[in-house]
């Protein structure tokens, strides 16, 4: 590898360790931004009738604080560690798709910058609460562009998360070292696996909800402003994401805590198998408990009883997991180092957060608690106490591995003591403030809430300050820390068998395992890390295009132009095969037969299915509630729909033929089939365009009514997917003409074929729903 300059290295790296560091540092930056906002609004709440922020700034501060902390700080901090350590823990030399990984990072960074920059727009940033409740978040009540821009930032983040999800699932499924069976994976890797599985199903509904909201705000499409269930629809779509998101944030932190407790107890985790089953149960349950966020909206009592019971049930698996932590301590050889203190501290806070959550699962108690500071206290104990504190444990735990040097233990312990005490000063009073509404910028002296708020504010400022102790400690120890050596903690997972910091290629030989620790190595092909500027450029251009939407449309065009050129360049390097990583597969049960590109596309298809299911679900939800919804065939020309259906079905046939021909080496027919697919897909788009312009000329436009809005959004989103598929086919055509496919090499055709079939299947759902009934 040539020496590259500092800036070039960080802009173009695709090495998982570099990206891990980028993620970690960026997440800490957003943590500071979100924390500073909290420091500000805790000043506003310090005393009754304070005149410091005022309602507009206060509402922006709490909204951005929530969005940043949940989506841009805590979870990405876990992903920083995951990027660095998941490949090391499973014995791989990188993630499955290193360049895609860089893309995830840059999309994440720029989406965060987009969010933060929204405060500089006229009217300020979003001020509707991070839950974005409609109809408050619709343009009628919040016309300022900042609300839209923050929504676009969320969509951009969802794209980043989807790519990351694909990458981690394929990596953990396919790239484990010989002997690294599922049950031998360290808990942290399990935590990340659970998290990405949750993200895969939780983020598409969020993206769908935000897209519908954007359509509502920009085109006046009345999804959430509809009086027939619009407000409730937002609740469903948001909380279907929102509840699993809690476990997205918690699961890596909580399971990392277990690795740390096991290490510093000098023994293996007790009942690892049962913990994994338990967390798996909690992950599944988390999708069926979200209704508890809507107990008080007036939904059906039986539904609420059922959800109340399932919500209480979710406490049990977490109880099992906590119990095994205690059992691991029993007769252990406990060393109370800083990471161990933070880990154990996070369990204490998790107990309190979990117990107060049991109150909320009780519908009768939740009737009152919803919207009060009890809820604020509860979820901060979970996300900050159990989540962030365990991630701090992880930072201290892995600092020696990442830098090769020890941090200062004394200051680490001081940090723990100060932050643990101030944390409780900050959040415990909130439980006692269970009559105080959330998100109020001021309160009257006669409420009697002042003393508790003062304690909370003071605790909050100390807690924020204590973070600096860690930053200074880490910064100073970079130079003056004692050398750490390979395994300062006497831990037994694979990352501790290589030097600190790990060399560029991680492992000299791929480790082999016959128990949980390595006992040998195999030689393998040399792994080369590539550099690519394109992930950075693509993310930057999307950022510019989105900023342009809110300021000047010229910027949007510049952004789109750069985006187009960069994608073309990405294709070019792929066609020339300048960027390809080769890894030998060892342990891949049960995915032995599936190459990683194909597995990646299958994961993408799963995520896209959820996206369309959310859109279709929203359509059906609104349609059954809105009186006088006309039958589809009275509006749309059934014949055009039918012709398009036939065209798409035929194109599925031609792409299947293309695959069959390339497998048999009949290259002429292969190319012809690709062309046919491309032309059929193009024809579909053209007919769709004519159909739309025809409808529009009849006054059937997107903002007209719900009938038109749902039609245009669903078919428009589908058309966008057809276009993406066409880009893929075009890539195949170019590659075919370069002679890059033969009867042995056709993964690209297979992968894009899967995607194309998926897009066609979606149409088979849309056609009856929007043309027949």
């Amino acid at each position: 590898m040539d020496e590259v300059s500092f800036i070039k290295k960080w802009l173009t790296t695709t090495n998982h360790k570099d990206i891990g560091i980028l993620y970690t540092v960026t997440a800490l930056y957003f943590l500071v931004v979100g924390g500073s906002l909290a420091v500000l609004f805790r000043i506003q709440l310090f005393q009754p009738l304070m005149d410091f922020l005022g309602p507009h700034k206060f509402n922006q501060a709490i909204t951005l604080h929530g969005l940043i902390m949940v989506l841009w700080a805590v979870s990405p901090l876990a992903f920083g560690l995951a990027n660095y350590f998941v490949p090391l823990q499973i014995g791989a030399r990188d993630l499955a798709f290193p360049r895609l990984n860089a893309m995830s990072y840059w999309l994440y960074l720029f989406s965060g910058l987009l969010l933060v920059s929204s405060v500089f727009l006229p009217g300020g940033g979003p001020d509707v609460g991070w839950t974005y409740y409609a109809p408050l978040s619709t343009s009628k009540f919040s016309p300022q562009p900042g609300v839209t821009v923050a929504g676009l930032a969320i969509v951009m983040l969802a794209a980043s998360v989807t790519l990351g999800t694909i990458n981690f699932i394929v990596t953990i499924a396919k790239m484990r070292a010989p002997g690294m069976t599922w049950m031998r994976l360290p808990m942290f890797t399990w935590g990340i696996l659970f998290t990405v599985a949750l993200m895969l199903f939780a983020f598409p509904p969020l993206a769908a909800a935000v897209l519908l909201l954007a359509a509502d705000r920009v085109f006046g499409a009345p999804f959430f402003s509809s009086p027939y269930g619009g407000a409730i629809l937002w609740g469903h779509m948001f909380w279907f994401f929102g509840h699993p998101e809690v476990y997205v944030v918690l699961s890596p932190a909580y399971l990392l805590m277990m690795d740390i407790v096991a290490t510093f107890s000098g023994r293996e985790l007790v009942g690892k198998k049962y913990i994994i089953y338990s967390i798996f149960a909690a992950v599944v349950l988390s999708f069926v408990v979200y209704i508890h966020h809507m107990f008080t909206t007036g939904i059906n009592p039986l539904v609420r009883e059922v959800y109340s019971v399932t919500t209480e049930t979710i406490s049990i698996p977490f109880g099992v997991a906590t119990l095994s932590v205690i059992a691991t301590l029993y007769k252990g050889r406990i060393r109370l180092t800083t990471p161990m203190l933070f880990a154990v501290g996070s369990v204490f806070l998790f107990l309190i957060g979990g117990s107060t959550g049991v109150y909320l699962s009780s519908v009768a108690l939740d009737h009152w608690f919803r919207g009060t500071y009890w809820v604020v206290g509860h979820f901060h104990y979970q996300l900050v106490g159990a989540g962030l504190m365990a991630l701090f444990a992880g930072l201290y735990y892995y600092y020696p591995k990442m830098t090769g040097r020890m941090y200062n233990e004394k200051w680490g312990k001081i940090h723990f003591i100060i932050s643990f005490i101030s944390f409780n000063l900050l959040y415990f009073p909130m439980f006692l403030l269970y009559d105080m509404p959330r998100r109020i910028y001021t309160y009257q002296p006669e409420t009697g809430w002042a003393p508790l708020n003062m304690v909370a504010s003071i605790g909050g400022w100390i807690f924020a300050f204590s973070f600096l102790i860690m930053v200074v400690n880490f910064y100073r120890s970079l130079r003056i820390g004692a050398p750490a050596g390979e395994n300062p903690w006497e831990a037994d997972s694979l990352e501790w068998t290589i030097p600190s910091p790990p060399p560029e290629h991680d492992f000299d030989t791929i480790p082999t395992m016959s128990s949980v620790s390595a006992d040998g190595g195999v030689e393998t092909v040399e792994h080369v890390h590539f550099h690519s500027l394109m992930p950075f450029l693509i993310s930057l251009s999307i950022f510019i295009a989105f900023v342009g939407l809110a300021t000047s449309i010229v910027l949007t065009f510049i952004g789109l132009l750069v985006l187009f050129l960069t994608i073309a360049n990405w294709y070019r390097t792929d066609i020339l095969e300048r960027f390809s990583t080769k890894e030998i597969e060892y342990e891949a049960y049960p995915f032995e037969g599936v190459v990683k590109e194909k597995l990646g596309v299958w994961v993408l298809v799963a995520s896209e299915t959820l996206l369309f299911a959310s859109i279709i679900g929203a359509y059906l939800f609104l349609r059954v509630r809105t009186p006088g919804w006309p039958l589809s065939y009275t509006i749309h020309d059934l014949r055009i729909g039918l012709i398009n259906t036939i065209i798409l079905l035929t194109s599925s046939l031609t792409i299947a033929l293309a695959l069959a021909y390339v497998k048999h080496g009949e290259m002429g027919k292969f190319k012809a089939s690709l062309f046919a697919t491309f032309i059929l897909g193009g024809l579909f788009i053209v007919i769709k365009g004519f159909e739309w312009s025809e409808l529009a000329s009849e006054g059937f436009i997107i903002g007209e009514n719900l009938v038109a809005s749902t039609y245009y959004i669903a078919t428009g989103l589908h058309a966008a997917h057809v276009l993406a598929g066409l880009l893929g086919i075009l890539y195949l055509i170019f590659k075919a003409y370069r002679g890059k496919f033969n009867s042995q090499k056709y993964v690209g055709v297979e992968s894009i074929g899967i995607y194309w079939h998926f897009v066609d299947i979606v149409w088979l759902f849309l056609f009856p729903l929007f043309y027949l009934i």
Binding site: S324, I326, K331, A364
Partner: protein, 188 residues
């Protein structure tokens, strides 16, 4: 001297949950701290000796399921009591929430902005809706509240057993005036 039956039910359930939570948490934390202290630097055979994880997990699941589901039993009882819309309320009051105030409409059609007067001991049924965004109608002293959702009517019953002035607040972020969206209920 409780202000009303809804508060009674709520507080007795709250106290039950708190008793359970405090007892269980103290027990766990004591064990935790004891282990941390006892086995600090303990150098014995550190294999997973002596613990049958499977048995432990099964016992724990059964015990915690009994605790949680018995708590849930009380919850469901309380829920039915609080949520059952009374058939013959003494007074039906319509509540219109809007940015940023509460409008009360008496049975005879008279409207009142921000103040409601009811005689002590009356069984009041509120029919709550919103004219614009999502709000939440809450009376802290009675632990009674319900969402005010545009496009639908939600029901909430209360009985004021004590005379006095009761504050109504909004418990769902509804814009700039959320903090000051209050009303008074005067019970005579």
């Amino acid at each position: 001297m409780a202000p009303g039956p809804t508060a009674d039910v709520w507080y007795s359930l709250f106290n039950l949950y708190t008793t359970a939570a405090v007892a269980i948490n103290i027990l766990i934390i004591i064990i935790f701290i004891y282990f941390l202290y006892k086995y600090r630097g303990y150098r014995a055979d550190s294999s997973a000796g002596g613990i049958d994880a499977k048995k432990l997990a099964i016992v724990f699941v059964i015990v915690s399921a009994i605790i949680f589901y018995s708590l849930e039993f009380y919850t469901l009882n309380a829920m039915r009591f609080v949520e059952e819309v009374p058939e013959n309320p003494d007074m039906v009051i319509e509540v219109d929430a809007f940015q940023w105030a509460w409008k009360f409409i008496y049975p005879n059609g008279t409207e009142s902005l921000g103040t409601l007067k009811v005689p002590r001991g009356t069984l009041v049924l509120f029919k709550v809706t919103s004219l614009d965004v999502h709000h939440k109608f809450g009376i802290p002293a009675l632990k009674a509240s319900i969402d005010a959702v545009p496009g639908r009517i939600n029901y909430l019953w209360v009985r004021f057993d004590e005379p006095g002035t009761y504050t109504v607040r909004c418990y769902e972020l509804c814009g700039l005036g959320h903090a000051n969206m209050m009303a008074q209920i005067i019970v005579t």
